[in-house]
């Protein structure tokens, strides 16, 4: 766990670049720092391994003030990944990976074994690569080495400073996926700096958006997409960014929250009145516990005796969807079953909302407003 307590940083000319930030990075989480250039994200990162010292405030790792110990020792226990230029060109791949274990004076045998193990972890053949030099590797391979070099001495915390920004989009995607998988396996605390919102959304457990040395919003990717802080964050993530991540849009986000409902004992006549006053053409039939029993449309009612009960005429074979299903699943259901009405229920099978063709149109039209 890494805690920032009222951390400030200003330079000699008095310019304050970090203006008193407070936050906690939980153990085992991939924490993304993002913002436009000059927002202080890299400075924040470098304060964790003391490449930059804060002017005031405290940074604690697992409850211990990092300024209390030796910075060299601190850095050897924190993994550090920078852009691909960070590999030492005069050293072989093996020597590069072993550097921190070497500084920590591990015996040679143990260093070699660890290097082999790490190369295999990222699917690179140790025999082939261990004696090669960084300039013989592609950008993607170099950055894989950069990542496993940070893992070599098995640190709990790893700092990554825009590690994938210099890569082409295809390789970048691939490495992001690999990092994600690696993180599932190893469960390190990773602090990841980027300026790429797609990367942040893809990798981050939580995202911390910074601007001018302040934290503007710190939340899960889902929350940031759904409820971006007004102004800056909205603009920064792009107003309709959520539409490019449809998995974050759930049925409950787009449904009508208070659909028109009626008790099964109501008569057709009463139901028609209710529909009229609500300007709808269908009604959901629920029992006293909000459990969905059926659905009745104006078409069903038009030819019926007005005194019949709803339970007698309603359609009971209703297709429903759960409130946490994604928008793409919802669209698929409605398309495949050819239905225009989709009641939404929760885990307890209680009715919580309704999605109709026209409500969908309203939602989509907001995209372009």
């Amino acid at each position: 766990m890494i805690e920032f307590k009222d951390v400030k940083k200003s330079y000699n000319d008095g310019k304050e670049i970090i203006k008193g930030i407070n936050f906690t990075i939980n153990s085992g989480e991939l924490f993304v720092l993002i913002g436009p250039s000059g927002c202080g994200k890299t400075t924040t990162l470098k304060m964790i391994n003391r490449l930059i010292e804060p002017t005031s405030g405290k940074i604690l790792i697992d409850g211990k003030d990092i300024t209390k110990g030796d910075p060299i020792e601190l850095r050897r226990n924190i993994g550090y990944v920078i852009q691909q230029t960070g590999l030492f060109p005069n050293m072989t791949i093996g020597q590069n990976i072993e550097i921190v274990p070497y500084l920590k004076k591990w015996p040679q045998q143990k260093r070699r074994e660890r290097t082999m193990e790490l190369l295999r972890l990222v699917g690179m053949d140790p025999e082939e690569f261990i004696n090669r030099y960084p300039n013989e590797l592609s950008g993607g391979q170099k950055q894989r080495i950069g990542v496993i070099r940070a893992l070599a001495a098995n640190p709990d915390v790893i700092l990554m400073d825009e590690p994938f920004s210099a890569l082409d989009p295809i390789t970048r995607n691939q490495l992001q996926d690999e990092l994600f998988d690696l993180q599932q396996k190893l469960n390190k605390t990773i602090v990841f700096v980027t300026h790429d919102m797609d990367e942040a959304l893809k990798l981050g457990d939580r995202i911390c958006i910074m601007k001018d040395g302040n934290i503007i919003q710190l939340d899960t990717p889902e929350e940031i997409l759904k409820n971006p802080a007004h102004g800056f964050v909205e603009n920064f993530i792009g107003k309709n960014r959520i539409w490019s991540n449809p998995d974050y849009i759930k049925a409950e986000d787009i449904m009508i929250n208070s659909p028109v409902k009626a008790n099964p004992k109501r008569t057709v006549l009463q139901a028609i009145e209710i529909m009229k006053s609500n300007k709808v053409d269908s009604i959901l039939v629920v029992d006293g516990n909000e459990k969905l029993l059926g659905i009745a449309t104006s078409k069903d009612m038009s030819k019926k005796d007005g005194n019949k009960k709803l339970e007698e005429i309603m359609e009971t074979n209703v297709i429903t969807a759960y409130n946490d299903e994604t928008i793409s699943e919802i669209l698929k259901i409605m398309d495949e079953k050819g239905i225009g009405l989709l009641p939404i229920i929760n885990k307890e099978k209680r009715l919580v909302g309704l999605i109709t063709k026209s409500s969908l149109i309203t939602v989509f039209s907001k995209l372009y407003s």
Binding site: R76, P89, N90
Partner: protein, 212 residues
């Protein structure tokens, strides 16, 4: 031409001795310049504000005509090989200091930050990264210094230090062109050989990963 060859052969013993003496004087001066110059070059990368003054000073020394510099040195070191070695040493300092400084300061700052961020101490940074990466540039400076030194050392004969300059100066005084050539040609060849050898060393010390 055959006259010259005859002259050369008749004096081959003396020329051989003078050449050895020349090599000895040059090597002593250049090695001294390496031993002093490289550490100075490293130190001024740590104290950047000093670099301007130190390199400026070395530049000034370089600008003094060699004969004049020797004139200054005679009162301090007398005549013989010592002032000659000191003079060549002083001339060799500039390329060595300058190249050491440039070699180290031109290393990509991200690489250094990676090293520091991984927990290297300053001396580990120097030993594991800065020196290996700047060695080709430092060697290029040493090469320039050594080749220049061979030529400069011919002046040493002026103050009785010996070396191939002895043949050249004696030849000039005696209007004996053959004698001048018998000193100048071996000196030129010596310079080329030293250039060749140091070039080989330069390639050898360049880390494999940064060879072109």
């Amino acid at each position: 031409m055959s006259d010259f060859i005859n002259f050369f052969l008749s004096r081959s013993n003396q020329i051989g001795n003078l050449t050895l003496q020349h090599i000895e004087l040059t090597i002593v001066a250049v090695i001294a310049a390496i031993v002093i110059g490289v550490p100075i070059g490293i130190i001024i990368t740590r104290f950047r504000r000093l670099s301007k003054y130190i390199i400026g000073l070395a530049n000034v020394v370089q600008a003094i005509p060699s004969l004049a510099l020797m004139g200054f040195l005679i009162p301090l070191f007398g005549i013989g090989s010592t002032p000659a070695i000191v003079m060549v040493f002083l001339y060799s300092l500039l390329p060595i200091i300058k190249n050491t400084f440039t070699g180290i300061t031109n290393i990509d700052s991200e690489i250094l930050e990676a090293g520091r961020g991984m927990g290297m101490t300053n001396s580990q940074l120097l030993r594991l990264i800065e020196l290996p990466l700047s060695l080709p540039v430092i060697m290029a400076g040493i090469r320039i210094a050594a080749v220049t030194a061979v030529g400069l050392m011919t002046i040493a004969a002026f103050i009785g230090a010996g070396g191939l300059g002895y043949m050249i100066f004696t030849g000039i005084q005696m209007y004996n062109t053959q004698m001048v050539l018998a000193g100048a040609i071996p000196a030129a060849i010596l310079a080329l050989i030293i250039d060749f050898i140091i070039e080989k060393i330069e390639i050898k010390v360049t880390p494999k990963g940064i060879r072109k």
